[in-house]
Subunit: 336 residues, 2 copies
DNA sequence: TTGAAAGCGGTACCAT
DNA sequence: ATGGTACCGCTTTCAA
């Protein structure tokens, strides 16, 4: 049904080689010929079969985005924004985006298959746990590859400055006079979770506040779990007077637990989140949080990846993007 | 770098034809030969070049998902859930998913290019406005195509029963004694917006409540806009005693406006949303809403599309999925 | 500046 | 049951 390059060549009374040259902007085509060919191309609404082109060029113009199994990541706001950024850069560079959910828990590594099948020119992996990464065998191969939200020295990575982000979140609470500061962290098998936890502890240490295990809750970056974790934290005596929650979605869960207990934010408990999702200003009270440039993380990852594909970059790069404390109304001074 | 079928053939001491047969599960291969070939395949970690295969089979095993420009749809929860469903069905059927944002506003139709380039076997278009759809010229072509969230008689469509959903949302408010019921609708150029509006009006009509233009606010399915629209609605005298908001995200915006005015939900104003996103139980108060099966919409669309690709289905089908009223705490009886 | 033809890596038809 | 090979549609080298 669709036309081929042969038909275009025939109608334009030139060879397929010439048509191909026109299509690929080769300078060695006479202006008149080019014009004629383009006319026919338009008339026939011809567009080249990408698979044939990919086969002969050994290039696909497709970037694979690999994400963890769905229930976890898809529903998170972080993913949306990253996806927006990825999509933005992908299409601006005339690539296509293949979305892959890795069910294999990265064991058999769908990623490698993707490359071996020549399906993509490069891959971006989002939020892969460090242990899973080790299992992939990806390290020995040298595919164009960029990791998002994971910090692994031997790979190209793009991630937010989690340590400083968590540090300033916690310090903000300390500056407000809080001493009994809880944390609801995400899972610890990814660098996001680990680093935010580290930032929290660092802030305590710097300010001579004792780190207490009982004040540490572990969530999974989702609201439901954070709700439960916060409930547990509210059994503590004395209560924490502030809590740093490792992402905004969990903050919404934690807020609910606090409300149900009849406590108020920030009068009874101050709260700082992480991400600055666009709902952060719509919760009650508007959430003080750490803004991380989610869109840019996606965008930069793609730009970086394309540079690697085009061999404009060869050495492994760790790109760290800044975070910023956004003060709203969920934090207040500690009053005894 | 990657192996080809030739190398496998050579090592296995058979022809490429035989290797191909093994790979495609042809029954005309002796068990012993098959075993030998598979051994080599495994040893060489061979996997076929998808582009070569696609070229000769004239089939890509890729489904294209086309969505409106990013800021609008990506940030909506509706999209996330639909995407989860799409991805679920796509990968269960061993297809791949190509994600496309249509910047052309569907004018030059990226969709047609996708087909002409033989990049995909079929396409799912999410939330395409009816007027944009008309411009695509898609109607004359007969590609495997399924529309999500759009109701267009000449196309295969999968969508929620918006009319009945909006109807029962509104009737629920009426049953509670409300008469002055506002609506914050989405945009009206898609069938979602139109049909929810229709359901709202139908409920009023059936209950002999006069339809009033002043009670109608038009949002864009996002929280920010709904916040503004609700603010305007709160200038009305007398105030509406209830409001039906056409999706949950907008409900969060409307809630904020109501809070800021110092009014309470549901004591002063009752509210019903639409979607039942997973944050609906985490807002304050937990939101009464209309649940629509977002995941299933995505899943069913893909299953439908694959049936069309496989020619198991030829006639145009309109698949309507049920909605359900979920009563939580944002609605209460009207008391004068 | 243009054309002919050899691949790219598979599939599938035709022989045997 | 297996092998030989034309072909899918395009790019690119080599010649002219």
């Amino acid at each position: 049904m669709a036309n081929t390059i042969k038909e275009v060549a025939k109608k334009a009374k030139v060879s397929v080689a010439t048509v191909s040259r026109v299509l690929n902007n080769s300078p060695l085509v006479k202006a008149g010929t080019r014009k004629e060919v383009l006319k026919i191309v338009k008339k026939l609404k011809y567009s080249p079969n990408v698979f044939a082109r990919g086969l002969s060029k050994n290039k696909t113009e497709i970037i694979g985005l690999v994400v963890p199994p769905s229930p976890f990541l898809f529903s998170a706001y972080f993913f949306n924004e990253v996806l927006r950024g990825v999509e933005f850069a992908v299409s601006r560079n005339n690539y296509k985006l293949l979305l892959n959910v890795d069910k294999s828990s990265f064991e058999k590594s769908e990623v490698i298959t993707l490359f071996d099948q020549r399906q993509v020119d490069g891959v971006i992996i989002v939020a892969i746990p460090l242990d899973a990464l080790a299992k992939t065998g990806l390290e020995e191969r040298k595919f164009p590859l960029v990791l998002i939200g994971t910090h692994a020295p031997k790979f190209n990575c793009v991630y937010a400055d989690n340590i400083n982000g968590a540090f300033s979140a916690t310090r903000h609470l300390i500056d407000l006079g809080h001493r009994r500061i809880a944390i609801i962290n995400g899972v610890m098998n990814g660098s996001d979770g680990q680093e935010r936890f580290e930032g929290y502890k660092k802030a305590l240490l710097r300010n001579n506040i004792e780190y207490r295990q009982e004040l540490v809750g572990v969530g999974n970056f989702r609201q439901e779990e954070a709700y439960k974790v916060m409930k547990d934290l509210l059994h503590l005596k004395p209560l924490p007077t502030a809590v740093f929650v490792a992402n905004d979605l969990m903050a919404m869960g934690a807020m609910k637990a606090i409300r149900e207990k009849g406590l108020r934010i920030p009068e009874d408990i101050s709260m700082v989140g992480f991400d600055d999702i666009d709902l952060a200003t719509f919760v009650d009270p508007p959430l003080t949080t750490i803004r991380q440039p989610m869109f840019d993380i996606g965008r930069v990852a793609v730009e970086n990846l394309i540079a690697i594909i085009d061999k404009k970059q060869s050495k492994v790069a760790q790109i760290v993007l800044k975070t910023k404390l956004i003060i709203r109304e969920s934090t207040a001074g500690y009053k005894k």
